[in-house]
């Protein structure tokens, strides 16, 4: 049974994508297919979680070809958690899409693309083969390319050019690194790589490849100084797409980095972790400063993604069990929170028709609930206790102090106050301040159907509740990941 | 003995011919001239491949020759299509 379950997060959205392709004209069918399939993935992920927590790591050999020859799919704690988060994200964004995506985009394959996006994401989480990871990355990327450009508005196209080009460069680094690794070691299975690398004659060559992976995944996860594609593009597509991207995509890069650097490239941590920690610090700072300079909800949020990637990398680079647990917790927290913030930004846009701070105001007065819903993820992002972001920050800071990494830890604290600054900036400008006098007071929201309003708010509430749950009932989540299983 | 020489010689000559054609590709002057050059290069590559098939005694190589035939033609049609659209556009 498990050997079927483990593939379902891939097969279900795959099948969903096929179905939506067949029903191009029937939007209702497409919607149903997508939300049902993402719901199913979430349910499956719960079974997977249950299994890994009771019986441990489970793996399956695709096609029955034994490792390292065939491709292995593995579910361990880390991947099970990531899958469940991805299911949750798919489900909540599906609901939001019903309320926010225009009929044209729906007709032109929106749900197909979301499905394939999640095929790629889930595949990336499950695979235990390095080249197969490349393939799922590409599936994910290709879907994201289309999603970011679909609709073809001018900013979308401009953003997409940078998004696509830089991500392709990342893919090339990845591909080349995998190729070189195969050339050195002669295998692609991650576990097998881990074993064979330990006894290789040329550890420095392995480290060279490891550094190449830092570049490849560094671009994907928007690490300094490789992040440029993200702030150039994430604010251009419809809000729900930004939301999914903001939540999931860069985190897949970080996930891959965690996988690779905790499992495969453990032979030269002084170099790899040293590099990572420097980049992590710079990423945090540059990202948060970038956000401080912006005056558009989504641009602020986009730069914050960069900044927070720095935290996750910091956890990875500190490399202690607590630090890695902190990084993983950070990922979980950040996916939920950042997605939600983008969705809320989307609602603001639905109300006022803009994301620009100087054209917004008075939302808190008119929509106090929305204000509350904003504060939950926003404060969580800034690490205000006891919300989820606090525990993430806490774990990392504690790990940092334990590793006596004073500078990066101090920096991480400093950056968190700047994060708070940015969140409050949005709060002040969008929610608290009155609408500027020279801006026409429009409220498109009140004209929406009840169904549309619900579609918009329900996912936001779901995610806010998740944030609260993770914050208040942190214990299981903080213990959850621990270190990815060293030996699949 | 002679046959081996013949194969090698022919390989060299076809290779050299490709080189000559590439000169036309560089010289142009018009896109159509370059297209002629590209078309000819791919065509000559068929002969090159056939000769290599003999040299290496690997017959599967000839499948590439057939594909190359398609490819050469399709490519040329594509370029011609471009040139024709261009001429329309320029009017």
């Amino acid at each position: 049974m498990m050997n079927i379950l483990i593939l379902l997060p891939l097969v279900i959205p795959f099948f969903g994508a096929v179905l939506t392709l067949f029903f191009r004209e029937k939007i209702t069918v497409q919607r149903t297919v997508f939300s049902v399939s993402s719901g199913l993935v979430f349910i499956v992920s719960l079974f997977l979680l249950d299994h890994v927590f009771t019986s441990g790591v489970f793996s399956v050999q695709i096609g029955g070809w034994k490792a390292p020859f065939g491709i292995t799919f593995v579910v361990d704690k880390l991947s099970a958690i990531m899958i469940s988060i991805s299911g949750l994200m798919a489900f909540s964004t599906s609901i939001y899409s019903f309320g926010s995506i225009d009929a044209e985009r729906e007709k032109f394959g929106f749900y197909t693309l979301l499905s394939t996006l999640f095929v790629g994401i889930n595949g990336s989480f499950l695979t235990g083969d390095l080249f197969n990871l490349y393939v799922w990355f590409e599936v994910m990327l290709m879907s994201s390319f289309v999603l970011i450009a679909l609709g073809g508005t001018k900013p979308q196209l401009e953003g997409a050019v940078k998004y696509v080009t830089l991500n392709l460069i990342s893919s090339l680094f990845f591909l080349v690194a995998v190729g070189i690794l195969y050339g050195i070691v002669g295998t692609l299975n991650m576990a097998d790589l881990a074993v064979k690398i330990k006894t290789h004659q040329d550890p420095w060559l392995i480290t060279t490849v490891a550094l190449m992976f830092i570049i490849a995944f560094g671009i994907k996860s928007a690490m300094f100084p490789l992040f440029f594609w993200l702030p150039a593009s994430y604010h251009t597509p419809p809000a729900v797409i930004s939301a999914v991207f903001a939540g999931m995509l860069t985190k897949v890069g970080v996930y891959a980095m965690i996988r690779v650097f905790t499992l495969i490239f453990t032979n030269n941590p002084e170099v790899t972790n040293g590099v990572l920690i420097v980049l992590a610090g710079a990423t945090m700072l540059v990202g948060v400063l970038g956000a401080a300079a912006q005056n558009d909800i989504r641009r602020i949020l986009s730069f914050h993604i960069v900044s927070q990637i720095g935290y996750m990398i910091m956890g990875l680079a500190l490399a202690s069990p607590l630090a890695i647990a902190g990084a993983v917790f950070y990922i979980i927290h950040h996916i939920i929170v950042k997605t939600n913030l983008f969705l809320i930004g989307g609602i603001v846009n639905e109300i006022k028709g803009t994301f620009a701070l100087n054209k917004l105001g008075g939302i808190y007065k008119a929509y106090p609930l929305l204000g509350l819903l904003f504060l939950i993820p926003a404060l969580s992002l800034a690490g205000i206790p006891p919300l989820s972001g606090f525990w993430a920050k806490f774990s990392l800071v504690k790990a940092g102090f334990e590793a006596e990494a004073w500078f990066i830890t101090g920096l991480s604290l400093f950056v968190s106050i700047l994060t708070l600054f940015s969140m409050i900036k949005i709060w002040n400008e969008v929610f608290w301040k009155d609408l500027p006098e020279d801006v026409e007071n429009i409220d498109k929201f009140s004209g929406f159907s009840t169904a549309k309003k619900r579609f918009l708010f329900i996912p936001v509430i779901i995610l806010a509740v998740c944030t609260l749950i993770i914050g208040f009932f942190t214990a299981p989540f903080l213990m959850l990941p621990q270190v990815p299983h060293p030996n699949w | 003995m002679f046959f081996e020489f013949a194969v090698n010689f022919s390989l060299a000559i076809t290779g050299f011919s490709m080189f000559l054609v590439l000169i036309r590709l560089v010289m142009g002057p018009h896109t159509a001239d370059r297209v002629v050059a590209v078309d000819l290069t791919t065509s000559i590559a068929i002969a090159f491949i056939a000769l290599y098939a003999i040299k290496s005694n690997e017959t599967y190589v000839l499948d590439a020759g057939l594909i190359l035939g398609f490819v050469s033609f399709l490519g040329t049609v594509g370029y011609a299509y471009y040139l024709q659209l261009r001429s329309k556009r320029d009017e």
Binding site: G63, G64 | D63, L74
Partner: protein
């Protein structure tokens, strides 16, 4: 680019190309070829036809919409994978019929998978070309 000569030539060339594409597909398991190249050659044939006769006629010739081909390709590939489960084995395990067929050799789910690839590749390329070569809506842009 409707020239009489091209149109006429293409009419006689492309059946052969289709044939060759299927040939590539079916013997790909044993000799050079396979679903990709097969699909690409089939698509090349349709492209030739499209360039010579325009998208509209090409759509008519094709009978099925390329999008359906894509969907069918994915579905067939998926089915080939799931057959492994049905047979009580792992996903994508090769299940073979014990019946030799010329050219193809044996028939089994990997061949079915390759057929899926063929359909998808054909559909994909054709879809793209139809989209790009379709000048019917160019006027209003």
């Amino acid at each position: 680019m409707s020239t009489l000569i091209l149109r006429t030539a293409v009419k006689y060339i492309i059946p052969g190309m289709f044939l060759f594409s299927l040939f590539l597909l079916f013997r790909g398991h044993n000799e050079p070829g396979g679903g990709f190249v097969g699909g690409l050659v089939a698509a090349a044939a349709i492209i030739l036809y499209t360039l010579a006769n325009g998208v509209e006629k090409a759509e008519k010739m094709l009978h099925v919409s390329p999008q359906k081909l894509i969907a069918a390709g994915l579905l067939v590939a998926l089915l080939a994978g799931i057959t492994g489960w049905i047979a009580g084995k792992e996903f994508m395990t090769g299940i073979w019929l014990d019946l030799p067929i010329p050219v193809m050799g044996k028939f089994g789910t990997p061949v079915l998978f390759d057929i899926g690839v063929y359909l998808l590749v054909t559909g994909m390329v054709v879809k793209v070309i139809f989209t790009l070569a379709d000048t019917r809506e160019e006027g209003n842009q």
